[in-house]
């Protein structure tokens, strides 16, 4: 596939983003379709409840989908570039298992505070997982990327087993809640969620754009980057912390949305090239649009109920992953 030029790529992607967000806002309950949404946008909604549904439920959800997709995709780019491993993704550190353990522990708290404590507990769990992985590899040789991967897998298994044990010993219904939460969902979307997630993703993007040229150098090899004056260990720690923080925030609100961080950077790389700055922006926009449409599918395929979003991303991601392996 021929790569798109700078001039063509950005407007094309921005148009795709605008189209996705506007068009996705028209999917949901059948009464509030595109025509009604248009009416609400240009004037008055035909029913006041539509106003609430559109602006307080549906639009925040579409925007959260975009932000989460954006964040996971750029975290994926960073992880793949910093480890020079095409299979790296933001969940490498056992973040989902950590968040899952946090969420599980949160179910032991009284029901009345669970709404607040579940994302916070999940975030603490995710950070704990990352810290554990980093602690293991920090004393080790950083250049051994495989150690990072292996430590992530081991921590993942450890935390998952703890989660399973707590669920088994606990109330039969909390198991359902945690398992479905881990499958991912954007239903938690509201203004507050967006206000927490958006700054983290913007800071992550800006920081990584500032470090983009150093990351380009790192793509060659650690030695070449050092020769060019890059402080490789420091750069790697900064990038890993950025990825961990943004992924942990996304996971704690949206649950485990798998494979976006792995799949989108590879598609973007094929279309827009490997230069870090270009790749970051392109992957982010593409990932955002992807998740917006996956969520449309999640909430419209089955009438009266939703499919957990992580189920769809993982299903698509796995097929893509297998295709990728055939080429490798």
């Amino acid at each position: 596939m021929s790569r798109l030029t700078n001039q063509a790529a950005l407007p094309l992607l921005l148009a795709l983003v605008a189209f996705s967000i506007i068009s996705a806002s028209g999917f949901g309950i059948t009464e509030l379709d595109h025509q009604q949404v248009w009416q609400c946008m240009v004037g008055e909604c035909s029913k006041s409840i539509y106003q609430t549904i559109l602006f307080e439920v549906r639009l925040p959800r579409v925007l959260l989908g975009f932000l989460a997709g954006f964040g996971l995709a750029i975290a994926g780019v960073l992880m793949q570039n910093v480890t020079r491993n095409p299979l790296a993704d933001p969940y490498l550190f056992g973040i989902v298992s950590g968040a899952g353990l946090g969420a599980t522990l949160a179910t032991l708290l009284p029901e009345s505070v669970q709404f607040i404590s579940m994302p916070i507990a999940a975030f603490i769990g995710a950070l704990a997982a990352v810290s554990l992985v980093l602690m293991v590899v920090m004393n080790n040789n950083w250049r051994q990327v495989s150690h990072l991967l292996l430590a992530g897998v081991a921590v993942s298994f450890l935390l998952s087993s703890m989660t399973s044990f707590i669920l088994y010993m606990g109330d039969a219904f909390s198991a359902n809640r945690v398992i479905f939460w881990l499958m991912g969902s954007l239903t938690r979307a509201d203004d507050k969620t967006l206000l927490v997630i958006a700054p983290v993703i913007i800071v992550s993007l800006l920081t990584s754009l500032v470090l983009a040229r150093q990351l380009d150098a790192l793509l060659l090899s650690d030695e070449s980057a050092s020769t060019l004056g890059v402080n490789v260990p420091r750069l790697r720690v900064i990038i890993l912390i950025i990825c961990a923080a943004s992924t942990a925030v996304i996971v704690s609100f949206c649950g485990g949305i798998g494979f976006v961080g792995l799949m989108i950077p590879h598609i973007a790389r094929t279309l827009f090239g490997i230069t870090t700055a270009r790749l970051l922006i392109a992957s982010g926009l593409l990932g955002g649009c992807f998740l917006v449409w996956v969520d449309v599918a999640a909430r419209t395929i089955l009438t009266g109920q939703e499919i957990p979003i992580g189920v769809i991303t993982s299903a698509m991601g796995s097929v893509f992953f297998l295709a990728l392996m055939r080429k490798m």
Binding site: Y50, N176, R177, F180, G304, Q305, E306, P308
Partner: protein, 313 residues
């Protein structure tokens, strides 16, 4: 002369008919009025019921609402609400894992009745934030069913019928308790799930039912309400009866074929019971009839073992 007499008779008859029709007209209209008033009253009640728009988020809540005559007020429900037959036509607005917030908001319910354990608490919190009235159902003990029937009666304005149903339920439970409390305990294994082999203990819903039937459960003191056990433990416990509940519409292909384990008394003597899981496990009115049946079946097993021991002695 016959003719003038006949003429006279006809005249009298016509006069009487006229008089009757003139006098009877106001009487008929009074009856009509009374009928009309009654119809209007019924219509008003129906409209009042219709006015209250309920979203009932669990099968047992739907069953109870229909039972107390408030079924037509339900405008949305969750999956698996399949009883009575009319419940199948109610629009689905979610399941135990996720609610469709948009759909619920668009239906504009007056009240949402949710099962605390089986409804996602984060979604309910969001609905509360939108100003919707959420009421919880959380039956923990068998008698909570009648308590909740009364509460639903208060909520829907159907107190009289709710009270009547609640009293009937309580009387049936008391009768079961009275009938079996002095009986000799019969040991049972309750297979709630086969792979992994899961049973009931402590305060689990079926365990409370076993206690009423005077059935002893060797696993009652395990750590959780629904513990997984090893088949070896069942061999050692050697229960006299095996209870393997079945869902009415489907059989579980994974269910253990206990006939393969003749070492266990229950299997050896073919004392294997298959109560209806949909009725027994659902916290609503129907459970009490099925429970009566289960207790009777267990009593038959009890008698079987008694006779066997009498013969041996």
């Amino acid at each position: 002369m016959a003719f003038p007499k006949l003429k006279c008779n006809v005249l009298v008859a016509m006069f009487l008919l006229l008089a009757f029709s003139l006098t009877s007209k106001p009487v008929q209209s009074q009856e009509e009025l009374a009928q009309k008033a009654q119809a209007q009253e019924e219509l008003a009640k129906q409209e009042k019921d219709k006015e209250l728009k309920i979203i009932a988020l669990a099968p047992h809540i739907v069953e109870m609402l229909f039972e107390i005559g408030a079924g037509q007020s339900i405008i949305g429900t969750s999956e698996h609400s399949d009883y009575p037959e009319e419940a199948k036509a109610i629009p689905r607005v979610g399941n135990y894992a996720r609610l469709n917030i948009e759909h619920i908001l668009a239906l504009q319910p007056d009240v949402i009745i949710a099962w605390r354990s089986g409804t996602p608490s984060d979604d309910l919190e969001r609905l509360k934030q939108f100003g919707l009235n959420v009421v919880y159902s959380q039956p923990q003990h068998l008698l909570d069913v009648s308590k909740e029937i009364r509460e639903l009666g208060e909520l829907t304005g159907n107190q009289a019928i709710a009270e009547q149903k609640a009293l009937k339920f309580e009387a049936q439970l008391a009768n079961i308790k009275h009938t079996y409390q002095e009986k000799r305990p019969v040991s049972v294994f309750y297979e709630i799930w086969a792979k992994p082999l899961t049973t009931v203990a402590r305060n689990a819903w079926p365990q409370q039912q076993l206690a009423l039937c005077q059935a002893s459960n060797p696993f009652i003191d395990l750590a959780t309400d629904y513990p997984q056990v090893n088949l070896e433990q069942v061999f050692i416990a050697n229960p006299q009866v095996i209870i393997q509940p079945h869902s009415s519409d489907k059989t579980n292909p994974d269910a253990i074929n206990w006939q393969n384990y003749q070492q266990i008394d229950g299997a050896k003597h073919r004392q294997i019971l298959h109560p209806n899981a949909d009725k027994l496990h659902r916290m609503s009115f129907r459970l009490v009839d099925e429970l009566e049946k289960l207790c009777q079946d267990l009593d038959n097993s009890r008698r079987f073992y008694q006779q066997m021991s009498d013969i041996q002695n």
